[in-house]
Structures are given as structure tokens and as C-alpha cells.
Symmetry: C2
Subunit: 163 residues, 2 copies
């Protein structure tokens, strides 16, 4: 099973819908005050006068929300697997990601649906108990437009004894 | 002057020290509860048992903090420039970034110093009033170790009449 199984059991092309999130104006401003205090993330009138035309979320906010839904999805699956006595692979640290694209603004009251898909896998040469997965992660708004994409890398445990 | 001047006046290699931030345990947990609820970002004992060995910040937290310090730096410069009657270039949207690397964990009580450096500039073909800048952005801990780096892209206004 994707995302909780061992590296050896994960197939390229496996995809998961992680759920969706609606970005309220209040939440957009709260995040912006903490991390990205630019006028078009803080104030409706200023946003109207900006190149965005309307209040919109910080790109860091829409990207961090991908992370939140991915963790929630994995935790739920892991709990179900453990309840059935199935093993859950350990995740290692993420060394980072590539090619983050903010393709369209995320406006106040937009609902973004997040997904992830396995695009690459390889064994770790230096750490034979681990494999390396690359995922393509996306956010799509209620009009079906892609607003966010990036490719993340993560270490994942190999099936014990497989290396 | 870098970062508030027009595209035409910015030189490759210009660098700015954006300031530093100390990541307290409380703040690490608060961010993690919102966006990255993994045990090693939420709880000291669980972190001790993890591959990190100690409570450490979400990578999204350390990266978003780069953004906060960059905005604060630019706002301060822009205010000074305006006070002297100097123009401040408008920034366009960021289309995204590349090659984000989490090189070392950011542990509780680490102080990270952030910086940015212009690494590439080119005129926009489709929008002659704008130029495109690439910055290499970094975070370095109190031991001088690079913990974070990524390359961001931003549109910036050209000097009026230069296009």
C-alpha cells in the first residue's frame, strides 16, 4: 500500500488524494502576519490595488498546508494498518524538494485539493536499509486549475531483510 | 541599491544579511501543530527516539522564517529610500523556487542567520516593464553550518523608460 508500505512495495504512479482545505480571509491574514507580511496577503483594499487584484494566501501558506494534509493522510492510514497488525514503514528525513511552482494565486475562500504521486524510486547506496522516493505534489483549486506543484524527496525504510 | 532598486540597477553577486532568528521549543511545537504534526517536531521525548535525536523545527517553519526576515529587511530599506525621496521598485509575483535543501536539522534554541544573494538576472520577454531575478537564499546556524538553501525567482520592475 502506498505511503505506509515499505519502499519495496511502492510503485511509481501510485497516487493519493490528500483532502482539501478552504483558505479563509482570517487564516490568510494570520499566516501572513507571522511569515509573509506583504500587503496583498494582509489587507483586502491593498490587495485590490496590487497585481493580484484580491486578497490571496502566501505561497508558503498554501505549500505548508500540503504538508499538513499529507501528514494527516499518512497518520490515518498508518493507524488503520497497525490496527490490522500490518507493518508501517518508517520515514526518514526529507533532504528537500525541487521545482516548487506557484502557478495561480490562492484567493480568499478558494478550496484547494491536494494530491501526491510517486514519480521516482531508487535504493540508497550509502544506507542499504533505506530507499529514496520522489513524489510530485499538487494543489488544485475549485475551478480545476493547478495552483501549486513541487517534487519532494524522502527516505523510506526498506522491507527488513530485503537489502 | 539591492533589493529595493530597479532591475536595471541590481548586480549579480549582491548579497544581503537578513538577520537571525532563534527557534524556541514552544514556537517549533506551535508551528508543527498547525502544519507539520510529526512527533519529532512536537515532543522532546519522541524526538529523542527519532533519527533526529532532539526536538527540531519543521523544514517549512525554517523556510517560512526566511521569508519573514526577507520582507522585514526589504520593508525597512524601502522606508529609508522613500524617506530620502528615492524610488522603490515594485515586486511582482514569485513564480516559485528551485532546489530547496534542508541540509541539517534546526534544533530547539538554534539561532539561524538568513541571507540572500543575486545569482541570475534577465529581462522578461513577454513583459518588457519587468525583469526576472534569481536569488540564492540561505540559513546558517550558530556553528556556521548551512542548514537551508534554495533558489527563488521573482519579477521586479524595470527602471521606467528603460525597456
Amino acid at each position: 500500500m502506498t505511503f505506509v508500505g515499505y519502499f519495496d512495495d511502492i510503485r511509481i504512479g501510485e497516487r493519493a488524494e490528500l483532502g482539501s482545505h478552504t483558505f479563509t480571509a482570517d487564516e490568510i491574514k494570520r499566516f501572513a502576519r507571522q511569515f509573509d507580511p506583504q500587503a496583498f496577503h494582509l489587507d483586502e483594499s491593498a490587495a485590490k490595488r496590487s497585481h493580484f487584484g484580491r486578497l490571496c494566501a502566501s505561497g508558503w501558506h498554501s505549500a505548508s498546508t500540503w504538508m499538513r494534509l499529507a501528514i494527516r493522510y499518512r497518520d490515518k492510514l498508518a493507524t488503520e494498518h497497525r490496527a490490522r497488525g500490518q507493518p508501517v514503514a518508517e520515514l526518514g528525513p526529507s533532504p528537500g524538494f525541487r521545482d516548487l511552482k506557484w502557478l495561480k494565486p490562492v484567493y480568499a475562500d478558494d478550496t484547494i485539493s491536494y494530491a501526491t504521486e510517486v514519480v521516482e524510486k531508487r535504493e540508497s547506496k550509502s544506507m542499504p536499509e533505506w530507499g529514496i522516493l520522489r513524489y510530485k505534489n499538487t494543489g488544485t483549486n475549485q475551478a480545476g486549475e493547478l495552483v501549486l506543484s513541487y517534487v519532494s524527496t524522502v527516505f523510506i525504510q526498506r522491507r527488513p531483510g530485503s537489502a
